[in-house]
Every structure is written in C-alpha cells, then in structure tokens.
Amino acid sequence: MEKGRKIFLLIVVTLVTVLVALPLMPFSDSKIMAAETKTLRIGVLVCLTGWFSTFDTLEWEEAQLARDMLNERGGITIKGEKYQIELLAEDCKSTADGVVAGANKLVYDRKVKFIAGPAAFFSAAAKEVCEPEKILRAISFATNTPGELGGDTPYTFLCHNASVEHCIVGVTAMKQVFPKVKTVDLVNADDGAIPYLDPIFRKILQEQGVTVVGKIIGYPNEMVDFSPVAAKLSVSKTDAVFFGNGLPEHAAKTLKGIRELGSPKPVIFMSSGLAEDVKRIAGKEASSKFIIVGPMLGATGTPPLMAEIQKRLLATYGKERSIHLQIFNSIWALVKAVEAAQSLDTTVVRDKWEKLNTIETPYGTGHMGGQKTYGIRHALSHPEPYQILDNGEARFGKWVEVRVP
C-alpha cells in the first residue's frame, strides 16, 4: 500500500511538471515556429579548372559573396517562411561535357530546382538537361549561339549584360573617347558564336556610323601567341580594333603585339575586365589607347551596393581584382524573382519574372527586355561603366545606360 501511494505520487508530480513546462518550451511559440529557417538550394555551374577558370574562379568567389550578402539581409521569405541561400557548385572543367556532367549532378543527384550559370556558349550544353526538368536557370552571359537563350529555353533568364549589351557599351565608349574612328577591324574568339554575332555587331556599329572592314578575325580560345593576329591588325588600314568576346588576357596580348609592331591604333575591348589586368600582361609601354568594359574601384557614380561589394572583395582578397559580377547578378536576380513570386515552383517564378519590368542590381536598376534580340523577353540589361588605359595608367571612363531591345 505504501509502495502504491509512492508510485501514484510520482506519476502525479511528473504530470504536473510536464503540464507546467509545456507552455514554456520554444516550439510552442507560434511566431518562432513560423520563422524556422529553411534552405533555398541554388546550383552553380562554374569552370573551376581549365582555360576558362581564370575568369570563372573569380565568378565563384563573387557568387559566394552574393550568398553571404543575401543571407546577412535575412535571406528570402516566402509565404512567411524564411530561407537561407545555399550554393552547390559543380565544376564544368571548361568543356561542354563538363557542363552536362555538372548539370546532371545538380538536377538528378542533388535535386536542385534553381541553377545559376554557366556563362556564355557553355550554357547551351546545360539546356538539354535543365529545360525538360523545368529547372529555372539564371545564366550570366550569352553569345547568341543556338540553345543559349530563345524561344526554346522558356526556363532560362539572362541576368547580366552579354555580347549585345557589351557591344552597345563598347561602341558608346569608343564614340566618346575616340570620336574620329570610322572604320574598325573586328576580333572575336572562335567559340562558335562568330556567325551569329557578326551581323549583330556590324549593325550596332553601323548605327553609330562605324564600318567593320573585312571579316571578323577569329582566334581559338586556347591561343597563346597572338603575333599573327597582331600582325594582321597592325598592317590593316582601319582606325581602330574592336575586340568582341574574349578574356582580358586575349585582348592584352593582342594590344601588346600591336604596339610592338608600332601600330598606335585604339583597341576597344567590349568584354568585361579590369584595366590593371590588361596593363599587367601588355606592359606599361604598350598600355595606351585601350578601352575595357567593367567597373572600377572607387569610380564616380558607383551604386552603394556595388561599392559594398568592391569593399568586401578588397577586404577578403587583399588586392584590387577585376569585378565581373555575372554570376553574382544571376543569383541576385534569381532570388529577387523567387521572392517576387512568393513560390518555389519554377513555373510560377518564371511566369512572375516575365512580368517584371525592373530588378535592382549592383550596377543600378536593371530592365527586363530582349524580345527583339533573343526572341524571348528574358534578358536583364543594366548600366555598365568602362575604363580607359592610356599612357600606362588606368582611369575610369563613364557609366553607360543599356537597354537590350
């Protein structure tokens, strides 16, 4: 009897304790329950090895900064639920096969529904994996080759100024800095895009009163010695060299070669990079009459978001580095679109994104467009600056407004 009473008392005390403690337990707070953080996983296709890694490793660093900055700002809230951004990177190895392998891994193994990248002509390789699975892709650059961006890529959005937009910036810069230029040689990496870009570049230049002389001078992306290209350009009778898509080192070696052969003609490089990088390769002596598209640290008119990015990159990496922000823009715009749609369904996000007119980017206000240029209104164009390299010194040029038709 005594034993029975003790057990009864024990049960009663336990019950009372539990009943009293329950209301005080965290999970009982509805507000805290609603704010429990989840993860929005975004796949990133970047070339961390191979010839394109000189560009894309910087992009990956900037992508991680985009993730950190978004998460510091509270991540993203969808229907009351908070999400922190998580990036899952796959190395494309600077090959189309690498892109396909990376895309397959992200889509089928890691089950992501949103992907940022890859850049340029690499993105066409991911189309066959991503589009059938309705993966929403935010690509960072386009070279207008089939399969990159168009009516057959309904789930793909271009989130940074690309070939056409950069050409507009480059031509505008050329007219501002070298107004007397009337004829140019056109140089472009032979990455399969030349037949598609040729008529577009010529048209944009013609609209500004500049004539392209002869055929586009193409070179393989892996080219090391640019002497033959420089030789052709130095004997040509044109006023300037208009360098299309390529890496800054391509343009730098061409500039160096032209100057070594005694040609003083201006070189306009419409792909983005840093003037100091070009100077490092071309050498101070050859660094003259050169324009390159891209932001510069501490330049006039830098938007606050970009200033913050530049400051943080400088603090992290300890040196001024070229700022591309292509994949940064892609991740940023993608997250903004998801937030606007208040859904993780890729079709819902796509439909909402198509209706947006503007998205704020580090470069300033970006405008959606591209129906005429790409055949689909999925391109985000934004203001972009240029830099001038002259007399061995780099200086800031101006900001150029860009609206892709």
């Binding site: 090895t49 490793t57 033959p228 080192e249 070696k253 070594e260 052969l261 990088d277 490092r280 050498g283």
Partner: protein
C-alpha cells in the same frame, strides 16, 4: 610586303620558343626514353616560382630565373628517383604517374596562387626597330637563348663525357653499367637538365605571354609534336620540327581564322608522319 616581313620574324621567334620549350622534353624522351608528360606542368610551376621571387620578393629577375632553374632542376632529381626510376620501362605506369604529377602541380598552384591574371615583367624591356620590322627585345633574347641552348645541348650530348654517358645509357643501360657508368646518376642528371630547361622556358614564356595554372598543356602538346616530328633519338631534329611548326602556327592564322588554323596545322603534321613515320631524323623501328 610589311606583313611578309613581320611574318618571317614571327616564324623565327615562334620556332625558337617552341624549340626552347621542347628541348628538355626531347632530352628525356629522345635520349633517355622517359615520356615526361609532366613537362608542361613543370614549365608552368617554374614561371610561378620566378614570379614569386622577382615580383613578390623583389629579387633581380635574372637571378630569379637562375634560382628557378636550380629549384626545378633539384625537383627533377627527386622526380627521377621517386617517380620515374621505379617504373622505368613500364610506359603505362609512367604515364599514370605523370598525370598525377600534372594534377597535383596544377591544383596546388590553382588553390594557392589562384587564377588571377599574372605576367612576369619583360626580362629585357624595349622594342627594336629596323626599317619596316620591329620586334620586342625580350622575344629577340628568347630567340637567342633558344638557339644557343639547342646548339649547346647538341654539342653537350655529342662531345662531352657526360653526354656520351647519357647516350650510352639510352642505348643499353646494362651495357653502360658494365662499363662503369652509373645509370641512375646519369638518369638523374638528365632529368635535372631537362627540368632546368623547362624552367628556362617557363620563365621566359611567362614574361612574353601570361601565367596561368593551365598554361602547361598547350606547350606540352607543342613539345610532343616537335619531338615526334623531329624523330625519336634526335635532338637536332627538333630544330627542323620547330621551324615547321612555328611556320604553320605563325602563317596559317593569317589566312584561316579561328580554331581551323590549329586543326589544319595538326593535319599537316599527320600527313607528314604518314609518309615519314620516323620523323625528320628518327630511327626506324624494327
């Protein structure tokens, strides 16, 4: 006329660059029978070592080149003892080891130094002009160094005691050992020499072009082309091979744009080998 003159100069300069790059590879492959696929990666690392010494630490650039040659030469000795000697005669294993070395070196540089754009300052700044021709002083110096090293290597192999020992070991290792020649020591020396030559090429090319963790692959391909075209067993043959490939690479892009010029260049090499499989001066098999 001006384009022709410029192209002639380009042919000479490019040929000498390729010969310089291929010299070390040829020494090991043609003479010692060691297929060192890591030659390109070693060439790349030496450029970065020179950059670290000259640009980051402020040493004299020529002294940095010399130190780079010594460091990479010592690495060559290590390579021979631990990577090539255990697998001597086994081509497949040697290739696997070389691939491993390439991946290790490229990844190490990629992770530690990064892919940020870098270039060595010119060893000899300035541009030399003569009539319609102008050429950068550093390319001219590279031309002179490349030619001198080739001539020196040919003389060394043929006329010095060590050179003859290298030839003896390459022809018959056991026979050479019976004559009192230390095959391992000679092999290590050849490797050190080959890596040292790669270092010279890496430092000079790092100033003419730019540095990248993946810059070795292209030059390894060129070295392989030169050695095969020149003929196995012939150091002198790489001179003619270098001139042929330099001519193709400097002239074809003038007429054929883009990647097609590289493809056609390789096509010409293949056709040549179909008619003369042993290359210019190689030994016929069998």
């Amino acid at each position: 006329m001006q384009l022709t003159l410029i192209t002639v100069v380009n042919v000479l300069i490019l040929s000498s660059m390729y010969i310089l790059v291929a010299l070390g590879f040829a020494l090991l492959f043609s003479i010692m029978g060691i297929l060192n696929f890591a030659h390109g990666a070693i060439y790349m690392v030496s450029g970065y070592i020179c950059y670290q010494l000259a640009v980051e630490w402020g040493l004299n650039q020529w002294v940095s080149l010399l130190l780079s040659v010594i460091i990479i030469g010592a690495f060559g000795v290590f390579l021979e003892k631990y990577c090539f000697r255990p697998f001597f005669g086994n081509l497949k294993r040697t290739i696997i080891v070389c691939i491993a070395i390439i991946i290790i070196l490229e990844t190490t540089v990629n992770v530690t130094v990064g892919t940020l754009v870098r270039s060595l300052p010119a060893f000899v700044p300035g541009i030399l002009m003569a009539g319609m021709i102008s050429v950068s002083a550093e390319k001219l110096v590279t031309f002179i160094i490349g030619g001198s090293l080739l001539a020196t290597m040919i003389w060394f192999i043929k006329n010095t005691k060590i050179g003859q020992q290298i030839q003896a070991v390459s022809q018959n290792m056991e026979g050479a050992a019976l004559q009192g020649i230390s095959a391992h020591r000679i092999s290590a020396l050849a490797c050190a020499l080959a890596c040292g030559l790669a270092a010279v090429a890496g430092c000079l090319m790092g100033a003419i072009f730019n540095l990248s963790p993946f810059m070795g692959g292209h030059m390894l391909l060129k070295a392989l082309e030169l050695v095969i075209l020149g003929g196995i067993g012939s150091i002198g043959g790489i001179f003619f091979a270098g001139v042929l490939i330099g001519t193709l690479d400097a002239t074809l892009p003038l007429f054929i744009g883009g990647a097609a010029s590289e493809a056609i260049g390789l096509g010409v090499i293949i056709i040549f080998l179909l008619f003369r499989p042993q290359g210019f001066f190689g030994r016929e098999a069998g």
